[in-house]
């Protein structure tokens, strides 16, 4: 058997993480997809504040207010994301659901160290999706919990030197 005939790519294991990419106002954000329990349209949610699905209550979470963002949540693309991290649940309204994406771990980056305040708890890191900068939400914070380990593991800040040519595509 010749080596030339082997397809090396099929044997390569690439560690990826799945995210639901959403838009909230002008910001693009990502939620780890394993916590998504459903995406509902405006017609499906009506005016209810808390949603119930599969026996679980999902209290409404005003993420835009918590992030001090201006977001129009009255448009036709508005969706309610039912989210759970296993012990906490929440219904998060977003301006738009952009899509699901499998992102290689190496394409996830920590927030630069210059961001020093609460935002370090809000976001687990960031990634590039379709050439856009996307902030990875910390689900524990988003669901109202105290600072906890984010579901997404990103590298320690000192391991990354963001603004170099090796930053995107480099080890994470």
């Amino acid at each position: 058997m010749s080596l030339r005939g082997r397809n090396h790519s099929t044997n390569m294991s690439v560690e990826t993480a799945s995210f639901l990419i959403v838009r909230l106002g002008a910001s693009c954000m990502a939620l780890p997809a394993d916590g998504v329990r459903g995406v509902l349209t405006k017609d499906e949610t009506g005016d209810e504040q808390a949603m119930t699905a599969a026996g679980n209550v999902y209290p409404s979470i005003d993420l835009a207010q918590r992030l001090l963002l201006i977001a129009d949540l009255s448009g036709p693309d508005m969706r309610t994301v039912l989210y759970s991290n296993g012990h906490s649940h929440g219904a998060v309204r977003v301006t738009q659901v952009v899509g699901l994406a499998d992102v290689e771990r190496k394409d996830c980056f920590p927030l630069p160290l210059q961001f020093q305040c609460d935002e370090r708890n809000w976001f687990a890191g960031m990634l590039l999706y379709q050439d856009q900068l996307v902030l990875i939400l910390n689900p524990s914070w988003a669901l109202g919990g105290v600072a906890a380990a984010a579901l997404v593991s990103v590298a320690q800040p000192e391991q990354i030197f963001l603004a170099t040519s090796a930053a995107v595509g480099g080890p994470c």
Partner: protein
């Protein structure tokens, strides 16, 4: 022995002069050590990031390079002037950082170290100041910009 003496001599020569970059933000003349500057490029629209860190509330993306933006103009209570605006990449201790500066093209100059006074503006991190054309010009400490807590100026 001779080599060590030569090294000391060189260090003394280096300390005698500073290579400086002169630029302006909102018409305010500022200076920075050239070694603290990563480059000057055209400004591109920044991406807002929800943040409570004073003056760090956006990111700049150019191709595959992503870096935080330091809003020096807001800190100095002014607006960058001219078109097209420029981006100064600061070699900050925490990593590269983008600063929007005036459209006026920065200039390079070698300054006698003796002309640098150790007093600077109290409102931003400086390495001192220098008099240029009768005006005091602050030498911005780009490496540690943002380290003085600006509680009063918090947004």
């Amino acid at each position: 022995m001779l080599r060590a003496a030569h090294g000391q001599q060189q260090a003394q020569v280096t300390k005698r002069s500073w290579n400086m970059l002169f630029f302006s933000v909102g018409g305010i003349k500022l200076a920075a050590r050239t070694e603290d500057v990563g480059g000057i490029s055209p400004w591109v629209p920044s991406i807002p990031v929800p943040s409570r860190t004073p003056f760090v509330q956006a990111m700049l993306k150019r191709d595959n390079l992503v870096m935080p933006v330091y809003d020096l103009a807001t800190r100095l209570n002014c607006q960058p002037l001219g078109e097209p605006l420029l981006c100064l990449t600061a070699r900050h201790l925490d990593g590269p950082m983008a600063i929007c500066i005036d459209a006026e093209v920065p200039t390079l100059e070698t300054v006698d170290a003796a002309a640098i006074r150790q007093t600077g503006r109290g409102d931003i991190e400086t390495l001192g100041s220098i008099t240029i054309g009768g005006n005091d010009v602050a030498i911005v400490a780009l490496q540690r910009l943002g380290q003085i807590r600006q509680d009063v100026a918090r947004h």
